[in-house]
Subunit: 404 residues, 2 copies
């Protein structure tokens, strides 16, 4: 069994349960007497090169449990992507602090960071165990049935559309809700779980897995509006035309990119406004409203899946166990074993790092604007217990007197 | 005691608890043996002139309870504002159906509708008891301590900012959240209840009760950003310049108005995008994100104040009691009697109809960009039980080795 100091950090976008994984690492590591210190790096890899560490050994278990139940990254996060020089700085710091275990909680970009650090350590002959702990609301990590953070964000999206559908039924018109998800449509597809009655919205769902054609979109909206007298639409921020150009960037004044080369899609209402303007202008429908769910869907406090909470805790605990009892670096992955049960495996880092999973074809309807029952079966158990439910008046009509 | 058929309808924007009031009317009315029928009009006053009634007498109590717990207007709503001819149509229908009690759940526009209908009935010599039941997330009805619907929307806004603050702390930058509220800043001010630790956001709150000056706004943001390394801002959609021109309309391509002459402010991300562009361009801050809470804040399913639920139920029940045991038309109002307790009164319709309450000066800090403790004392009990709480690592720093 290896020993010494361990370091945990959080990278990429925060989620509702990323602190569960961090606390899972911290509390599980306390059970190993050979672990002398548990450090947390502030703001991910940037905190490592800056030697900005908190000593988690000096936190009370009680406070750690409360932090675990708090959304967003308690250690802070970063979008930095280490290159070779950056990694060399990381080693200098790790070596100086005699750290022998590095746990990084994040998405496929963070997995790539772990892979590079792991390779650099091996090349440098430094005894460092590197474990990537999965996290992303996009659900786009390969090899995982799903990723911690996704179920809670999916729950938010499902609840948001369940409410938006009720609102739209009360004051009919067209409602466009734009959901996060650059390449993977899982989160947008979760809007379908907000449907209950057969004529409920979202009536149309646009995913980045399918090419977006404005003319077809307008025809879909027109047909739905004529049928139901209203139309609720879920749109992924990542929808793109046939050339792969994101629709959101077609009208952006300046395109902002992060260090991973990703175009900034969130934090602006431009896509919803563009689509609403098209519907108003081309279809002549007057009441057209667009919302961009933005950061609410990943940071809203008080909307969390209990299934997500416990799995996020367990991937942190399993990461420590894989590190202490195993003999290789890797990425913890969630595997579904029943309806509904899971187990955890340690995957090779290069099988996860930098790769993007998108929605499987079996989850998308033939029309391309709805999900299948296979997707409902996949997602429903992840949303957890206590999902709010919507009810209607049964509606016995009163006979008209004047207009009969 | 009066008798006969009663009619209930819902007007204006839906809320999380408006169905509590409708069900409060329906179930309380069942206790009166002289009530022969309880009708619900579909889509407010429009449903009356169209004779689109549901017979709520034929709904099960069980289903009514489930509908009560469902957000948005189960009977449907409308933005129609009846003129004299419209009201004459209403009377024709009410008389034809022998309806003697009219309950209309809505805001100050709906109260005005009730006032006009009441006057028309009196002038026509038709024995109609008209009661307005308060409802609005804007909390802008005069004579009420607060209005049903506001506490749940305020809870959503407080939870949203609590989460946005955590997200912004993890990935620092500037975050702008735009909140509903045309003339009254109560809902935007509710963002302050998302603050816990002294350096938490929202750091700046912009209300329609104060004139918005772009230069001062930018100076405020710059100062906050320099102090905290980040800045979370709550902005009312109704902020306006010294001439009263809404900032949101300064860049709108075409201005949409409803039948009450109100400019359409929601359902677009333009205001948030405008402010973000100004911050990026003028202050040179790179990571600037804007969210417009839009319809989520009034229709999200699963975020409700239990205090709001029971008060919304009671205003419906009291409306029936005032109608059955009283001798005049009026508007039910919530009066605060303790910390925290309430009672209900019947106010004259013309004291509520068409009037707009705005935030009292004692609720706004001298800076104009924060709330006072008086406001916190006012709002906190309304948010109800089980408010989610945020926790932090206490943060014992590890001594640097390389950079010491």
């Amino acid at each position: 069994m290896s020993s010494g100091k361990i370091l945990v950090a959080q990278g990429g976008g925060p989620t509702a349960v990323i602190n569960q994984s961090m606390v899972g690492v911290a509390l599980e590591a306390r059970r190993f007497q050979n672990v002398t210190r548990i450090y947390g790096a502030l703001h991910g890899v940037r905190g490592i090169v800056n030697e900005d560490f908190l000593d988690l050994t000096q936190e009370t278990s009680h406070n750690l449990e409360l932090v675990a139940a708090t959304p967003s990254s308690a250690l802070g996060s970063t979008r930095d992507k280490p290159d070779m020089a950056y990694c060399r700085s990381i080693f200098d710091v790790l070596r100086a602090h005699e750290i022998e275990h590095f746990f990084y909680i994040g998405g496929n970009d963070s997995a790539d960071t772990v892979r590079i650090v792991s390779e650099q350590a091996r090349q440098a002959g430094y005894p460092l165990r590197c474990i990537h702990i999965p996290k992303t609301i996009d659900n786009d990590l390969v090899g995982n049935d799903h990723t911690p953070g996704f179920p809670s964000a999916a729950r938010f999206v499902a609840q948001a559309f369940a409410g938006a559908n009720l609102d739209n039924a009360a004051l009919p018109g067209v409602y466009v809700g734009v959901v996060m998800g650059r390449h993977a449509g899982f989160l947008t597809a979760a809007s379908a779980l907000g449907k209950k009655f057969p004529d409920d919205g979202p009536h149309l769902i646009y995913l980045p897995e399918r090419t977006f054609e404005l003319e077809r979109f307008l025809a879909d909206v027109k047909a739905t509006y004529e049928r139901h007298g209203r139309c609720v639409i879920a749109v992924s921020e990542g929808i793109h035309d046939a050339s792969g150009q994101p629709v959101a960037t077609l009208l952006a004044k300046e395109i902002e990119r992060d260090q991973h080369g990703n175009v900034q899609l969130s934090g602006t209402g431009a896509l919803a406004d563009l689509l609403c303007d098209e519907i108003k202008g081309k279809l002549g429908i007057k009441r057209v409203r667009g919302d961009t769910f933005g950061y609410l869907q990943r940071s809203f406090i008080g909307c969390v899946s209990d299934v997500d909470q416990r799995e996020a805790r367990e991937v942190g605990e399993k990461a420590v166990q894989f590190a202490m009892w195993g003999d290789r670096d890797g990425s913890v992955a969630i595997k579904r074993t029943g309806f509904y049960s899971v187990d955890y495996e340690l995957m090779p880092l290069d099988q996860v790092a930098g790769k993007t999973r998108t929605m499987e074809d079996e989850f998308i309807s033939e029309s391309g604007t709805d999900v299948t029952d296979a997707f409902r079966l996949y997602l429903r158990p992840l949303l957890g217990s206590g999902m709010p439910d919507a009810f209607r008046l049964r509606g016995v009509a009163v006979q008209k007197v004047l207009k009969r």
